[in-house]
Amino acid sequence: MSAEPANLELREVPGPSALGGGRHRFFELLWLMSVTEFKRTFFGTVLGYVWSLMRPLLLFAVLLVVFTRIIKIGGSTPHYEVLLLFNIVLFGLFQEGTGGAVASVVGQEGIVRKTQFPRLVIPLSVVLTALFTLGLNMIIVFVFMIAFGVTPMWTWLLFPVILLPFLVLTCALAMLLSALNVRFRDVAIIWIVIATALNYATPIIYPLSILENDPTLRHLLMANPLTPIFQQAHIWMIGSAETESVWAAAGGPLPLIVAAAIYVGVCVAGVWVFNREAPRIAEQL
C-alpha cells in the first residue's frame, strides 16, 4: 500500500430508500433511463418516430370520423377536430405514465433486488418517457392547429403552466400505483378499468359544452381533478369567446374544492405510500 489515499470517514449506510444514493445520481439515472427507453421506442425500429405517431393519429382519424360524421358529439364547438387531437395527446401522458408505471417496479425486479438503486427512479422514468413522447406529439398538434386555422394566441405560452399540475398528478399516481402493485398484484388490472373510466369522466372526446342542459353531471365531472385541467387547457390553447370558464362550468366552489381535495389527497398518498414501501420493496418481490 504505497499510495495511501486520504483517510475516509466511516459513514452510516442508510439502507434502501426512494431517493437513495444521492441526488446527483438520482437525476442522472432518471434521465438516462428515460432517454434510453425513449430512444428504444422511437429509434429502435425501422419506421421509428413515424411508427409511434401512427397510433395516436389512427385513433384520432377513427374518432374524428365517428364524432364528426356519425355521432356529431362536437356540436358547435369551434375547431372540435383539433381539440380532439390535443386532448388525446395530452391524456396520452396520463395514460402512458400511470399505465406504464403500475407494473414498472415489479417489472424491474432484477434491478430492485440485486442493485442499490433509488427506487423512485423507476416509476418516474416511465412518466418522463411519456413526457418526451408528449413533447414530440405536441409538434404534430401545433401543425394541425395551424392547418385547421386556429389563430395563434399568446396563451399558448401558458401551456407549461397547465402541464405542470397535470404532470405532478401523473407522477403522484405513478408512485402510488407502482408501490401498491408490489403488495397487491391486481392493482394493475384494476387500474386499467379506472383509467378507462377517467378517460370518459374527463372532457376529452366531448366538449364540456354539450352538457349545457345537465348541470348536475357537469358539476360532478368538475369534481374530477382532471376536468378543470383539461378545460383550462382547452381555453388557453384553442378556446374562443364561447368556451366556458372553469369557474362557470363548476357552477360554484364546491366541485372545485372536491377536485382540489382529491388532487392533494392523491399527491400526499403517492409520496407517503411510496416512501413507506420503498425500503421493503426488494423483500416483497
Binding site: 500500500m1 434502501p16 445520481r25 442499490q116 397487491f184
Partner: protein, 449 residues
C-alpha cells in the same frame, strides 16, 4: 465461538483508528502491545444488525383477497440475522462463507442497501459497488457502449466517468470490436466477460462480490484470477461471498463463517474454511441439512482436486490429468471403514463415483485420533459443467452401516469444448461402406477419436 474474542479485539483497535482519524495531525502514541505498525482503518463496521423476515402463513397478494379476508393473516418469523457485529479492515479481502440459509445473502443485501436492517447499523468508509449477480441491469436492446454508461451510473459513477471508462472495460473484456453491437446479439460468454470487466473497472473503494468466479474460458479465468490477486494486495476492500473454500484460502485475508444468522467462526481464511468444511461434514447420517451438533465417528477434514503438477484446483480442463485427495479423522474405533465419493452434475444426475477401503497389509480398522488420507488419479472423462461431490463412509464394508454422509463437500467446474451427453468416452469406431452393396466399395471412413 471464536467470534466474541476476535470481535472485541477488532473493536479495541478501531478505537485507536477512530482517534487517528479525528486528529490526524496530533502525534498519537499507541500501546505498543497492540500495534507495532499503523493501526488498521475500518472500512466496514457492522454493529448489532438484525433482520427478521415475516413469512405469511397465508399469502395475500391481491387487493381482492385483502378486502374479502377478514382475519389478519398469520406470520411465521424467520430470523435471518441475529445481532451481527463485525468489522472489515481497509484493504482487506474478506470472505463470508456459510451454508444455504445461513444469512449470508441477507447480510450482503443489507450491506448493499438492497434490504433495510431491522436493528443495528452499518457504517462504511468510501463508496461501495455491489455485484450480487453479474450483468444486473444490462439492457439487451442497447449496445455495449450504452450499457457500460448505464451500468456505470448505476454503480455510482457520473456519466462522464462511466464513458471515460469504456475503453478500459472493453479492452479487459476483449470486446473492442463489438462496442456497437446490441447485447441481445452477444453470446453468454461475451456477456459474462463484459459484466466482470465492468466490475473490475468500477473504482469503488469497497467491492461486494457474490460468487462470480468460474466464468468464461480458461484464459479469461486466469485473467480474472490475476485481477483478484491484484485487488487482494491493493488498498481496495473486498467482501467476497462464496461456497468455494479453495477460493477463500487463495484470495481472502480473513473470513467469517455464518451459521443460523450468527457468526460461527471469524479469523484467518484457512481456519474459517476448515470450520466451514467441518460444519458441512459434521452432519449425522440421514439428517440432511439439519445441523444436529453431534459428531460422527469419522469426519471429513478436507477434500480437494489437483492438477498434474499437484496444485489444488477448482476448475478442471476437460480431459486433463485430474488427481483427487481427501483426508478423514476417526473419533471412535471403526472396523472395516470404506470411503465413497460420487459426482453429481448440474442436473442432479450422479455421473460417476468410487469407493475405497484401507490398503491391505495393515489392520482393517481405525482408532480414535487416526487420520486417513485418500489420494490418486481419476480418469477425467467429465463433460464441461458444474459438479457437486458427495461423500460417505461405511463401517464393516457394508453400505447399511452409514457412518458419515455429506451431500455437498466440493464444487468444481469442468471447462472445455462441449461434447454430447454427460461423459466423453474414447472410441475406436470405424465406418466402412459394405462391399457389394454399392458399386464404389472399400472406401472406409475412419471415425474421429
Amino acid at each position: 465461538m471464536i467470534a466474541p474474542a476476535t470481535a472485541s479485539a477488532a473493536t479495541s483497535s478501531s478505537v485507536a483508528g477512530f482517534f487517528a482519524r479525528i486528529a490526524p495531525l496530533t502525534p498519537v502514541t499507541y500501546p505498543s502491545l497492540l500495534t507495532t505498525h499503523a493501526p488498521p482503518q475500518v472500512a466496514i463496521e457492522v454493529s448489532g444488525v438484525e433482520k427478521t423476515f415475516r413469512i405469511p402463513t397465508q399469502r395475500v397478494d391481491s387487493l381482492k383477497e385483502r378486502l374479502t379476508t377478514f382475519s389478519q393473516p398469520g406470520y411465521r418469523e424467520l430470523h435471518a440475522l441475529r445481532d451481527l457485529t463485525f468489522e472489515v479492515e481497509r484493504g482487506e479481502f474478506f470472505g463470508i462463507v456459510g451454508r444455504n440459509g445461513s444469512g449470508k445473502s441477507t447480510l450482503l443485501k443489507i450491506l448493499a442497501s438492497i434490504y433495510a436492517a431491522d436493528a443495528g447499523r452499518v457504517r462504511m468508509a468510501g463508496r461501495l459497488a455491489p455485484f450480487i449477480e453479474l450483468g444486473v441491469g444490462f439492457n439487451n436492446e442497447l449496445t455495449a457502449r450504452e450499457n457500460v454508461e448505464l451500468n456505470g451510473v448505476m454503480m455510482g459513477l457520473t456519466r462522464r466517468d462511466a464513458r471515460s471508462r469504456l475503453d478500459a472495460v472493453l479492452e479487459f473484456a476483449e470486446l473492442e470490436e463489438f462496442v456497437d453491437l446490441k447485447l441481445k446479439n452477444y453470446s453468454s460468454g461475451m456477456l459474462v466477460r463484459l459484466a466482470f470487466s465492468m466490475m473490475i473497472q468500477s473504482d469503488a473503494e469497497i467491492l461486494l462480490i457474490d460468487e462470480v468466479l468460474a466464468v468464461g474460458d480458461a484464459s479469461f479465468q486466469q485473467k480474472c484470477a490475476d485481477v483478484f490477486h491484484e485487488i487482494r494486495d491493493s488498498p481496495r476492500t473486498v467482501v467476497f461471498v462464496t461456497h468455494d473454500m479453495s477460493a477463500v484460502e487463495q484470495y481472502c485475508h480473513r473470513a467469517m463463517l455464518l451459521h443460523d444468522g450468527g457468526i460461527r467462526a471469524f479469523g484467518p481464511a484457512d481456519e474459517v474454511a476448515r470450520s466451514y468444511l467441518r460444519l458441512n461434514f459434521e452432519q449425522a447420517p440421514g439428517e440432511g441439512d439439519a445441523d444436529m451438533g453431534g459428531m460422527a465417528d469419522i469426519t471429513l477434514l478436507d477434500v480437494w482436486l489437483e492438477n498434474g503438477q499437484g496444485e489444488r484446483i477448482t476448475n478442471v480442463e476437460k480431459g486433463s490429468e485430474l488427481r483427487f485427495g481427501a483426508s478423514f479423522e476417526a473419533h471412535r474405533h471403526v472396523d472395516g471403514p470404506s470411503f465413497g465419493f460420487a459426482f453429481d452434475n448440474a442436473d442432479g444426475v450422479e455421473v460417476t463415483g468410487f469407493g475405497v477401503s484401507l490398503a491391505e497389509g495393515a489392520p482393517d480398522a481405525v482408532e480414535p485420533g487416526q487420520r486417513i488420507r485418500l489420494g490418486g488419479e481419476i480418469e477425467n472423462r467429465l463433460e464441461p459443467g458444474r459438479y457437486v461431490t458427495k461423500c460417505w463412509v461405511h463401517r464393516e464394508h457394508n453400505i447399511v452401516n452409514l457412518v458419515l454422509h455429506s451431500p455437498h463437500v466440493l464444487d468444481f467446474v469442468v471447462y472445455g469444448k462441449e461434447g454430447a451427453g454427460v461423459v466423453s468416452l474414447d472410441h475406436e469406431i470405424d465406418a466402412t461402406v459394405e462391399a457389394g452393396a454399392s458399386a464404389d466399395d472399400g472406401a472406409g471412413v475412419e471415425g474421429q477419436r
